[in-house]
Symmetry: C2
Subunit: 457 residues, 2 copies
């Protein structure tokens, strides 16, 4: 009994000493980031000096050059590029939508509209009656009325969902596949309610995909206020609208992931990846999406170097190419990992904005998750905990080629994200310095803990 | 054993059924608030149609009229006023500060400056050398150098403190008592670093108090960028500055708390108070401080009426007068409670902004706190938990006259609060609708739970 007590005490003291040492190191990282953090200044450069960074734009190339240079300056052991081909979608003009008649009478009322990413131009002005439907179910019920019309999907968020990403998940289906679902029944174009939580009228673009079986009709998102007005009007009256868009694909372009590495001193063949994506949409500065993830990644490298930390495992800092309308960068990263037979133990992405972090979401086995969850107390002073289920679009392909990789994501407070996601309001001014830095602290903490203790239960 | 098991099972099932019923009612409140909430629209009226509301200003009176009318429209059983006298401090002019010489050579460099609330005017332009000190310790060490100078206190926040209210607590001493501490040794005026977290140059005002034993010298807060520049300069060079302010007190004015009530059906003599304060500083719209608390309070009344909730206990919805530079409203509320021998079981204030709520802080006995803490799981879906230690300036006096009252406060995320607190940037545009509504949901939930189950352990 005495021996057992003594053993327990030793274990406990041992564990406490480790926990205390970890707690102290995380505090040092936090102090260094809050005092000397460069994430905010780097974000200023990326958003204000470079700007929007759609794949195929000169800015995306400039951003890659900027990223490579800065990762080198921050003192990575090596920085390299992973070449890929990215799609080259161009908006091609100023999208136009307007109400031009109500119940057969002329009325001109412009609508705030943005063509969805990857959608094709309208080939001139389209004029047609609106068929307004609440959802796909109503579309199917009224499929005989669709032909020759412009379908409006009332894809407004379910505001009662406290986690806005859940509402986005539901409404997102209309942006992604609404066009082909309507084209199947002869629609000439579609309009959706922007995937937005904002009490304003800014339209939000974002990626869509055509089903090759049907005509590639134009697709736009309307500003929330205009969308609600149109929906109410079209539910009780015949409404005629005009629509013109200019989208087109030029040939794929040369693109690249920018990868920095700190070589592991004990387990160099175990890789820990963290990253964000360099590209953005064309209508904004991509400050939260995903400038924040890019500078989070760079800040973690900076703080590890500033504190002269020597990782046990190899840590990769990745600025992914082309997340928004192709995921070509994420796919290439997974391809290379497979080709080189790399053992990735953890991949973490920051792609939900630079808001106050609430948790690190981790997708892992039940046993491994228990271990991660025990780290929650170490994150608590920085406002975070470890929750189950994290991911990121760019690290998804890695999880497919290497199912044992623990996939994780920074989970910031989600209330403001869809106010500005893919809208012109996603600019530097809407990022808060302390909130941004806090994200970097929590990512740095989890990367440090995985580097120290691995991912085995 | 069987009986015990059976008893436990009954208790457990009983508890579960209650918890489920509570969870459902809170969800109904949440859905109602997120769908039909009026807090954001009311805040627009208060900030944009009325504006800044310093005690003694016409706007503070307009706000009281507006508050009373709206609380009546929302269906309170009764709405009444509690008269008080508030101080009538006037800024009196456009505060001025500038560097006018460095090392004896003329140089003109204006400094962003705001006189501190309650500070007296300079009686014309003061020109003097700056004595820059890091803190009170340095002031004491260098007291012989103070006479005839303008003292600058480098009261910048400790940025490493993740909870910004802690940094505010430390730096706040310089705003409150810096002037008299320096006047004691013959200073002609003081300047402080604004109590700000923002990476900008907006000066932040706020309340100060003179020690009657010393001359009432002028006191200003400098914009953070200018303050840092001045501090660095004055540490290595002789710097001369000019300072002019115009503050004065006019005779006290008639003011009032606006109080709405829902009468309890079972324990009408047990009072639950929630509130925020109607007044603000003169330089902004008082949107977060404390428009948010005012409309939180009104929204809770609205949702209880919308769901036809009949409280067991008497619930008071209080819009306090004059928090900022006198706490006359809070004192009067406590006086009336004492005079009328009211039994206040809970008082909760929302006065830390309209940001995403992180917890409800509750100050209570250990035993009572255990009970409150068990409600955390009911708040979790709305992003909150119950934490120990909540308060509010306006409910502090009530706690003094009635020490058994549980004192609570909404604790929103604190990262952005001191970016705009008491600065011109505290305007409606910087309040997020969903974050604001989430605050109301969590307050409503805790008020409902206390109404249902009281505060006894």
């Amino acid at each position: 009994m005495r021996i057992l007590t003594s053993l327990c005490l030793t274990l406990f003291v041992g564990f406490s000493a480790i926990a205390q040492q970890d707690s102290l190191f995380i505090k040092r990282m936090s102090d260094e980031i809050m005092t000397n953090g460069k994430a905010y200044d780097l974000l200023y450069e990326l958003t204000k000096k470079i700007g929007g960074r759609l794949a195929g734009s000169p800015q995306q190339q400039q951003a890659a050059v900027w990223g490579k240079r800065n990762l080198e300056l921050l003192g990575a052991d090596r920085v390299f590029l992973q070449a890929c081909k990215s799609p080259n979608w161009k908006r091609g003009g100023t999208d136009f939508a307007a109400i031009v008649g109500v119940q057969g009478e002329a009325r001109i009322q412009p609508l705030a509209a943005l063509a969805l990413g990857n959608s094709m131009g309208s080939n001139g002005m389209i004029e047609a009656e609106v068929l307004a439907v609440a959802n796909f179910d109503e579309l199917e019920k009224r499929k005989d009325e669709v032909k020759g019309k412009i379908v409006y999907f009332h894809s407004a968020f379910d505001e009662t969902k406290i986690q806005t990403f859940r509402a986005y998940g539901e409404s997102g289906a209309y942006r992604r596949s609404g066009a082909s679902r309507a084209a199947k029944y002869g629609a000439l174009g579609i309009m959706i309610h922007s995937l937005s939580t904002a009490p304003d009228n800014a339209p939000h673009t974002g990626s869509m995909v055509y089903d090759e079986a049907y005509p590639k009709i134009p697709a736009v998102a309307l500003g929330p206020n205009d969308a609600k007005m149109l929906y109410a009007l079209a539910k009780k009256s015949q409404v005629k609208v005009q629509l013109q868009t200019y989208g087109q694909f030029l040939p794929d372009v040369n693109d690249q992931n920018v990868v920095a590495e700190l070589k592991g001193s004990v387990f160099p063949d175990q890789y820990i990846t963290l990253g964000g994506h360099l590209d953005s949409w064309d209508v904004n500065e991509g400050a939260h999406d995903d400038g924040a993830g890019v500078v989070h990644t760079m800040e973690v490298l900076r703080v590890l170097k500033a504190l002269n930390y020597k990782p046990k495992r190899t840590i990769r800092f990745v600025l992914f190419a082309n997340e928004e309308n192709g995921v070509r960068g994420g796919n290439e990263y997974a391809n290379q990992a497979k080709l080189n037979n790399e053992n990735h133990i953890l991949a973490l992405e920051s792609d939900e904005g630079g808001f106050t972090p609430r948790s690190i979401g981790m997708t892992a086995s039940k046993e491994a998750f228990k271990k991660f969850q025990s780290w929650s107390s170490l994150l608590k002073p920085y406002g975070c905990e470890v929750t189950f289920g994290g991911s990121g679009t760019d690290i998804g392909p890695l999880a497919k080629v290497n199912p044992s990789t623990v996939i994780a994501g920074l989970v910031p407070d989600s209330q403001r994200y869809f106010d500005l996601h893919h809208a012109k309001t996603d600019v530097f001014e809407n990022v808060n310095k302390r909130e941004l830095l806090l994200g970097a602290i929590n990512i740095a903490a989890i990367i440090y803990l995985v580097d120290q203790y691995g991912v085995k239960p």
